[in-house]
């Protein structure tokens, strides 16, 4: 029982990491608080459902198309609107929250109000039994994908030229531009990657949470919690924060069901009181 709960908690934590990583990097690099990030997750989840359950295409295609859908909607918001609101946090918050309303309502329009149950590829249905423990293979695959993506993102940020430009932009945007880095283009690429991962996470997360219209705000809240715990602008922080919150929440729900939800906020406030910038937040 303990081990199964732990695996479920880690799988949930991986989904939280995927959501929060994009949000955290966008906040760190561009100084943009994109509250529509949860809505992008929801777009990915609905598109994935449509592709997998509606068109009966393979699950992996659904995951990729969900990511592309999230990425394109994100790119649209960034190119047309957010680009003009650099360094205006008030305005960014209001604009992106307006898009939460708009995207949620358009999803209601297209897909109607009924919520979808969790879905996954048929090969991932049969539980794996080791000793007397039962594991859902979808959870194990999720953890695997999460770890691969985490390593990939960390590599991208810490070991590549693009990552170096991103980190330079976080530290001093004007200076980076002065050195001939096209921050406009870097921002665009970062925003697309972040939105793509949000959409991807939507389809992957649908294996755990299903698809419904509350996702836009619920996921946003979870992503903010993870970003707070992990620290803004840090992939490793989002990973540690996501796993911590995922495990705490899953065990909290299993052990004290009447305190559901309360546990993660308590964990969050404790982290904040000790480290106001999150566990692995960048200085400043």
């Amino acid at each position: 029982m303990f081990l199964t709960t732990l695996v479920n908690g880690i799988a949930y934590g991986v989904v939280l990491f995927l959501i929060a990583s994009g949000m955290s990097i966008v906040m760190g690099v561009m100084g943009i608080s994109n509250l529509a990030h949860g809505a992008l997750y929801m777009v990915g989840a609905y598109v994935g459902w449509q592709v997998f359950k509606g068109f009966h295409w393979p699950f992996i295609v659904a995951v990729l198309l969900g990511g592309v859908a999230g990425g394109l909607v994100g790119l649209f918001i960034e190119r047309i609107f957010l680009r003009r609101l650099y360094k205006q946090p008030n305005e960014q918050v209001l604009l992106t929250f307006g898009f939460v309303y708009i995207i949620t309502n358009i999803c209601l329009w297209i897909w109607r109000g009924w919520s979808r149950l969790p879905f996954t590829a048929s090969v991932l249905f049969r539980p794996i039994i080791i000793g007397n423990q039962r594991f859902a293979p979808s959870r194990l695959v999720l953890i695997l994908i999460g770890v691969v993506l985490a390593v990939g993102l960390w590599y991208l940020q810490d070991r590549t030229r693009l990552g170096a430009m991103v980190r330079a932009g976080m530290d001093d945007k004007e200076m980076a531009q002065g050195l001939g880095i096209n921050m406009e283009r870097v921002s665009m690429i970062v925003f697309f990657i972040a939105s793509f991962i949000a959409g991807l996470a939507g389809v992957l997360g649908a294996q755990v949470m299903g698809v419904n219209l509350e996702l836009g705000t619920n996921i946003l809240v979870l992503a903010l919690v993870v970003v707070i715990v992990g620290g803004i602008g840090s992939i490793q922080g989002a990973f540690v924060g996501g796993l911590l919150i995922g495990v705490v929440d899953t065990f909290g729900k299993a052990l004290f069901p009447q305190m559901a939800m309360f546990t993660i906020y308590l964990a969050m406030v404790i982290v904040l009181v000790v480290r106001p910038r999150g566990l692995l937040g960048r200085g400043g």
Binding site: F81, V93, M261
Partner: protein, 334 residues
Amino acid sequence: MRAAEQSVIQRVSQKVIANAVPWALAGVVFLIVPLLLPGFLQGMMSKFLIFAIFSMSYNVVAGYTGLVSLGQAAYFGVAGYAVALLMYHFGIDSLWVTAPIGILMGTVVAAAFGPLVLRVSGLYFLILTFALGRLCYSIAWNVPWLNCPGMQGIAGLPQPNLGFPGFKWSYLSFYFFTLIAFAIAMFLQYRLSKSPFGHSLAGIREGEARMEALGFNVWLHKYIAFIIGGAFAGVAGVLFVYYNRFIEPAHLDIMFSFLPMCMVIIGGPGTLWGPAVGAGVIVFVEYYSSVMIPQRWPLVLGGLFVFAIMFARKGLAVYAASGWRKAEARLWRR
């Protein structure tokens, strides 16, 4: 000589008209129009004024001081819960007891959260205020004493007892009650913005390092502004419970923190009339679009936010004021 006298008379009358017309307009909107409206619209007017006070809370914190907070609903909701609990558990419905305690609770919670959130600034301040608001929400959701049995929230609350024998609330009397609160809040906001303290807050918003260098205690200024914001939110929360007669955890949550934020930005942050204008626009757009196109009103509201940000960034109150000044100038040129 004669020409000079004439020009003095003209200048004085210009000034009188320039000030009298906006005041007369406000008087008609707030005093006369409600008398002619049907009951449910008088109720909407009360809701509008309550949210105008709530927006002033955000205006003090973010508009004047530049602290972008995402947890203003915490102080609003705590004040509302204090009133609701006094009514529900202790059977106290007197206005003179519940209102001060409610406002005090909102202020005290802001005073308690202030030192935590003011350790950081910018984006971290935004998400820390959000986090503490969310903590209040989860407490309200989970603690049984804070909920009626079998549901989330406290329902069926009585109307506040004024203590006058034979007095009965109506839509109209409640409207004028909120109008008095609104007028007092407007006056306090006006005094605050004109005081030396208010000017130092604006200085902190424009250049924190410079104010620090000039020897101001920036932290203390921010903290006091934060507490004042909590008090305004508390007033709005108390009135909201009187109006709504029901409170639920959602009233502490992120959605209710967004509303005053949207109202202030649409109306004009850091201006006297901005919060009221924004609250009026949002409350009535929400009401009419939810009546006329119930399926699509979030689309209308979201579109309004996007439009306001892209094309009316200074706020509608600022545009209205500059429009009036232009119209007035044209009037005298004729």
